[in-house]
């Protein structure tokens, strides 16, 4: 048997979390341990990633029977989509830990708990992205709620209890629907012979499922993922959570955890319920477009920087969901790439504004003015992060957004045109915020804001580096993503619409006539 890469990578942070709870409270040692463990996880992930072969389908597979009566397995494996998100999680966690160095010092619990929950969250999230068994996925999916609940409730700002409970209730309601669908899957697979939760076996069974059962089960999964993603109109927990959490918590929540929603849509909704996915596609696309525009308009209207970023994410998740359900190779690959890019750009935004907010003690845009004068490096990084959020070409998110739009355009011109309005609104929400906080005359009470320190720059620089690198060479990621997306769309049974005026046919005509 080959080396269980995924188990090791997922378990290492969990062990780190346990170690943190056992060691003496406080001091710098727990922080260093947490950083060390997350960097170790990143190194292992990188070593694993280098062995991945893009066209090899599901890889690094592990499979052990877990609960025989249910057909549940401990089964892990990644394809290009899963790997992209595993890598994203592994990259972001150490940077978040470095950026959150002092954020756990004044929480309800010790600094050990703060970093232990972060590591636990990383381990569970890695597990979710690697799970190839529906039951395992469900268990880990629900388990991620625990660390984030304690991170929100223990180390956040003013309204943290309200936000934590609200987040929990929304997620549990979604999870409950998913549980019903998971039970339903058991019934379906048991009827077909031996019960199984293995994705590979289930997808064959659900391919022949009767229409209405498939659609109900699809809905159970979809609603849970839509809450998590979050999509309009079940997004209202996110702004509260983002406004209450520490910047690091918000990154883990929005950049990593929310991706489970959109990841689940591809892995479970599309792959298990192809017929239902096509059936639901028009409605989901409308909801996605509404999310894009609604999120962007709401972002423009916010005064709290963190809520603003949360609403931009509602808009961006709209693009991701649109790309998934437009069911073309461009849009779906774009959506997957978007998950990675959004993770990076939103992390940069939350972290750099977090530094700003910590310095001034207020998150209100109207409490800032002219900060560029005293903190040019902070302003520059905020601008680059903002420009990536508004999808400026040359920065990573542009390619993913364009792919989503172009793919959508080939199946629904209307959806693409309305979604494109989002690029104007994006310029407004980012540049208005930048203008009001960074430019203009320096406000007297902003004069004491200091520029970023070396640790803070060091936490942000890798993210910006990746945003720029993947802006010019996204093909490195797309080479991994494309084959996996192609396979998924094959399972759904859709093909890309062909161009109206295919140029190859034209040149063949010319050759023939010569």
């Amino acid at each position: 048997m080959s080396f269980p890469w995924l188990t090791v990578i997922g378990t290492l942070p969990l062990l780190g979390a346990v170690a943190l709870t056992l060691m003496p409270r406080g001091g710098v040692l727990p922080k260093q341990l947490a950083l060390g463990v997350s960097v170790g996880t990143l190194v292992l992930t990188a070593v694993m990633g280098l062995q991945y072969s893009p066209r090899g389908g599901m890889q690094f597979e592990e499979e052990h029977e877990w609960i025989g009566a249910f057909g549940a397995h401990y089964a892990l494996g990644v394809d290009g989509i899963g790997l992209t998100l595993v890598v994203m999680t592994a990259i972001l966690t150490p940077l978040v830990i470095a950026a959150s160095w002092n954020d756990g010092d004044e929480g309800r619990w010790s600094v050990n708990a703060f970093f232990a929950w972060m590591l636990a969250l990383e381990g569970l999230a890695l597990g979710v992205f690697a799970a190839t068994d529906v039951f395992l996925f469900y268990v880990l999916f629900e388990a991620t709620l625990v660390p984030i609940y304690f991170l929100l409730g223990g180390f956040g700002g003013l309204q943290r209890s309200y936000a934590a409970v609200k987040f929990l209730v929304f997620s549990l309601v979604g999870g409950l629907l998913m549980l019903a669908a998971v039970v339903g899957l058991y019934v379906v697979s048991a009827q077909a012979g031996t019960p199984t939760y293995l994705l590979s076996e289930l997808s064959e069974i659900t391919a022949g499922i009767d229409e209405s059962t498939g659609r109900w089960l699809f809905l159970g999964f979809f609603v849970a993922f839509a809450v998590k993603a979050p999509m309009w109109p079940v997004h209202t927990w996110l702004p509260d959570a983002a406004a209450a959490g520490t910047p690091g918590t918000s990154v883990l929540l929005v950049s990593v955890l929310d991706k489970i929603g959109t990841f689940g849509m591809i892995r479970f909704c599309l792959e298990l319920f192809p017929e239902a996915s096509q059936w639901a596609s028009p409605v989901v696309m409308v909801l996605a477009v509404v999310s894009i525009i609604y999120g962007a308009l709401l972002a423009i209207g916010q005064d709290d920087i963190r809520r603003l970023i949360a609403y931009t994410s509602v808009s961006h998740f709209g693009f991701i969901v649109l790309g998934i359900f437009a069911l073309t190779s461009q849009s779906a690959s774009g959506a997957t790439l978007y998950m990675f890019n959004h993770g990076m750009s939103t992390a940069a935004l939350f972290l750099v504004t977090g530094f700003l907010i910590t310095r001034h003690g207020s998150a209100r845009i109207s409490d800032f003015g002219g900060v560029e004068k005293v903190a040019p490096v902070l302003a520059g990084i905020l601008l680059v992060a903002g420009l990536s959020s508004l999808s400026l070409p040359g920065l990573a998110p542009f390619v993913s957004e364009f792919l989503v739009l172009a793919g959508t355009f080939s199946v629904s011109v209307t959806a693409a045109v309305v979604a494109t309005l989002g690029i104007v609104l994006a310029a407004l929400y980012i540049l208005l915020m930048y203008q009001r906080t960074m430019t203009g005359p320096l406000r007297a009470d902003n004069a004491t804001i200091t520029d970023l320190r070396a640790r803070e720059v060091a936490a942000l620089a890798p993210i910006l580096g990746l945003i720029i690198a993947f802006g010019f060479y996204p093909q490195a990621l797309l080479d991994v993503i494309n084959p996996a997306v192609e396979r998924t769309l094959e399972q759904v049974g859709v093909t890309d619409p062909s161009p109206d005026v295919p140029l190859e046919a034209l040149s063949q005509d010319e050759e023939a006539s010569q």
């Binding site: 209202t236 494109t420 104007v424 407004l428 203009g440 093909q475 161009p499």
Partner: protein, 631 residues
């Protein structure tokens, strides 16, 4: 169009045109204060290098046969998914080669000028970093061989423009103007993005070659839509009606920026786009007519605005809009106008950069005051600035023999051949141009001194005057490009053969009419501003003057139609999200809380009531089982 050949020999260096300024920009912007001492030198050396390389490539291009003058260089694949592929591919052909020379040539001069102009600015190194970023992006724009790579440059110059308009961002007005420029341009970008998507959906390709090959087989609706969408993009970047409102505000940027970006190069990118996409417009009457109309309206609107402003830079900005209107109009006329559009674009690049830099020199000695009403009589104290400015002035009004005379005349001829009314409008606008430029000349350099008390005008340093002299020479001699119809012939491999037009009247007669109209414009301006004293505070003016001062109410319209309704919408939505949507959810939570409060009462803790309940439940189960079995 002729075939594209792979880049061999010296053409293999094409990528350096973009790369060198880009690397220099990165060094200056990331290097921080360490680079302060020599930043401006590196910043100037980068475009100068690109200019030298540009000249080498241009000469190499001239040395080839006409059929071999389109050279492509593929760098790497940007992204590829399904059939959608975008490459970093460069195309050096006569059209892009001329742009390379204009951008790097005028660009280098303006870099030199900026060394002196920005000498006292603590952030000069950063200024040069942004300028280099602009040069790299603009070269990417004109060298791209596909619409997506073009769009990368397109947005890159937009970013540089944003950064440079807002360079003095401690001023609120500068920050607001920068944001406005970016947002208005994004409206145009929507057109660009949608056009590219439509190209992909229709042809499965976004390269110039691919779209050109398929466009004739596309449906009429697609052809028209493509033309109009690209025009929307061009309107944004080139400040054409209805997306013109940002350019006047953009004058908040340092004057070298206004000269380079908002006069000579970036704002002409829309004209470049239309000419480059000529194969689209040649298939669609609706879209090409729209281009002509946009150009016509803008050239009139710009000229009217130019007449009423007292801010020297805003007069020039209005004039830029107007002159680009001429180019746009010519580009919309198709093969009859492409070469003239580009010809006017180049001469305008010379004389407008000259005028802006001259204005900058004046402002430099007037404590950055831009109000012409407190200028006057500067010709003696600033002789070099005055003489060079005068060359630019004669060029723009179309004084016989100067660069603008040849190029504007050609555009007017083409317009006249197309439609007599459009032709008349262009002639009248030329007269208005002569009026506002003469007014500017008189108010600034001649007449009485109306200076504020603490102002001591002086000539600018050599780093500033030398570029002025070079540009002045170009403003005088720029017309040589048309000698023997050279430019039209040279551009043939890029835009196809020039179409010759028949004029209803002899060319010489038309030229005479234009020159006469210009003379009338000069005369009226002289009567109004040369013979009478210029009041320091502006008179109230006629209805038209007041409208022109308010930019013909373009901003007021945008505010009433877009901004205020938009603000109401967002405000209402924020309320809705907090009270309506979230309130609904929280209300549901309260309802559940209340219900469980009621249900809780059933849990009395008395065994007898539980037993009773169990009995009831059991009965229910038995009854229902019976009912099912019996049924």
């Amino acid at each position: 169009m002729t075939e594209v050949l792979p880049a061999d020999g010296v053409f293999g260096l094409s990528w350096l045109l973009v790369a060198v300024p880009a690397i220099s920009a990165v060094v200056l912007l990331v290097g921080g204060r360490r680079t302060d001492r020599w930043g401006h030198l590196l910043g100037t050396a980068a475009p100068a290098f690109a200019f030298v390389l540009g000249v080498v490539l241009f000469v190499a291009l001239l040395g080839r046969g006409e059929q071999e003058r389109r050279v492509g260089q593929q760098l790497w694949t940007w992204f590829e998914v399904g059939g959608l592929r975008a490459d970093f591919g460069l195309l050096l052909d006569p059209l892009s080669a001329l742009f390379v020379l204009l951008i790097t040539g005028v660009g280098s001069l303006i870099h030199v000028y900026s060394i002196g102009y920005m000498a006292h600015d603590a952030r000069r190194r950063r200024f040069f970093g942004y300028l280099n970023l602009f040069i790299a992006a603009m070269l990417m724009l004109v060298l791209a061989d596909n619409y997506l790579a073009l769009f990368l440059g397109w947005e890159g110059v937009g970013l540089a423009s944003y950064l440079l308009i807002g360079f003095w961002q401690h001023k609120n007005s500068a920050a607001v103007a920068a944001k406005k420029a970016f947002v208005v341009n994004r409206v145009g970008d929507m057109g660009m993005v949608l056009a590219i998507m439509l190209m992909f959906a229709t042809f499965g390709s976004v390269t110039f070659e691919g779209v050109a090959a398929g466009i004739e087989d596309a449906s009429g609706a697609t052809q028209t839509a493509l033309g109009l969408l690209l025009l929307l993009g061009a309107c944004g970047k080139s400040a054409q009606v209805p997306l013109q409102s940002w350019l006047l505000d953009a004058m908040e940027g340092p004057t070298p920026v206004s000269a380079l970006i908002h006069a000579a190069t970036m704002v002409t990118a829309g004209v470049y786009l239309v000419v480059r996409s000529g194969f689209v417009y040649e298939t669609t009457e609706v879209a090409s007519t729209a281009v002509v109309l946009v150009g016509l309206v803008t050239l009139v609107v710009g000229a009217i605005i130019g007449c009423a402003k007292d801010d020297i830079k805003k007069v020039l900005a209005g004039s830029t809009m107007s002159q680009i209107g001429y180019m746009m109009l010519a580009a919309g006329l198709g093969p009859a106008g492409y070469a003239f559009a580009i010809f006017h674009l180049i001469t305008h690049g010379f004389f407008k950069a000259n005028l802006f830099l001259g204005a900058g020199s004046v402002m430099h000695s007037m404590h950055d005051d831009v109000d012409m009403r407190v200028y006057g009589g500067l010709s003696r104290l600033m002789p070099v600035t005055f003489v060079t400015f005068a060359m630019g002035y004669l060029a723009i009004i179309g004084f016989p023999g100067f660069a603008g005379f040849w190029s504007k005349d050609k555009v007017i001829e083409a317009a006249f051949a197309d439609n007599i009314w459009i032709g008349i409008a262009t002639i009248l606008a030329a007269g208005v141009t002569a009026f506002y430029m003469t007014r500017l000349m008189l108010m600034t350099f001649l007449g009485d001194k109306r200076w504020k008390s603490d102002v001591h005008p002086h000539e600018s340093p050599a780093t500033m005057t030398i570029p002025l002299v070079v540009l002045a020479v170009a403003s005088v001699l720029g017309g040589v490009l048309i000698l023997g119809g050279w430019i039209g012939h040279f551009l043939e491999p890029s835009v196809g053969p020039e179409e010759h037009h028949d004029l209803p009247i002899p060319v010489l007669a038309l030229t005479a009419i234009v020159t006469l109209t210009v003379a009338v414009g000069v005369f009226i301006a002289w009567r109004t501003y040369g013979t009478k004293e210029v009041p320091v505070t502006a008179p109230r003016g006629s209805v038209l003057t007041r409208a022109a001062r308010a930019d013909l109410y373009g901003d007021a319209l945008n505010e009433a139609v877009l901004m205020r309704p938009g603000q109401w919408t967002t405000r209402w939505l924020v309320w809705f999200d907090n009270r309506g949507l979230d309130g609904g959810v929280n209300g549901l939570a309260a309802l559940i809380g209340g219900t469980s409060g009621q249900v809780r009462r059933a849990q009395t803790g008395y065994v007898r009531s539980y037993a009773l309940a169990m009995l009831g439940g059991a009965l229910l189960v038995v009854v229902s089982l019976l009912a099912v079995t019996l049924a």
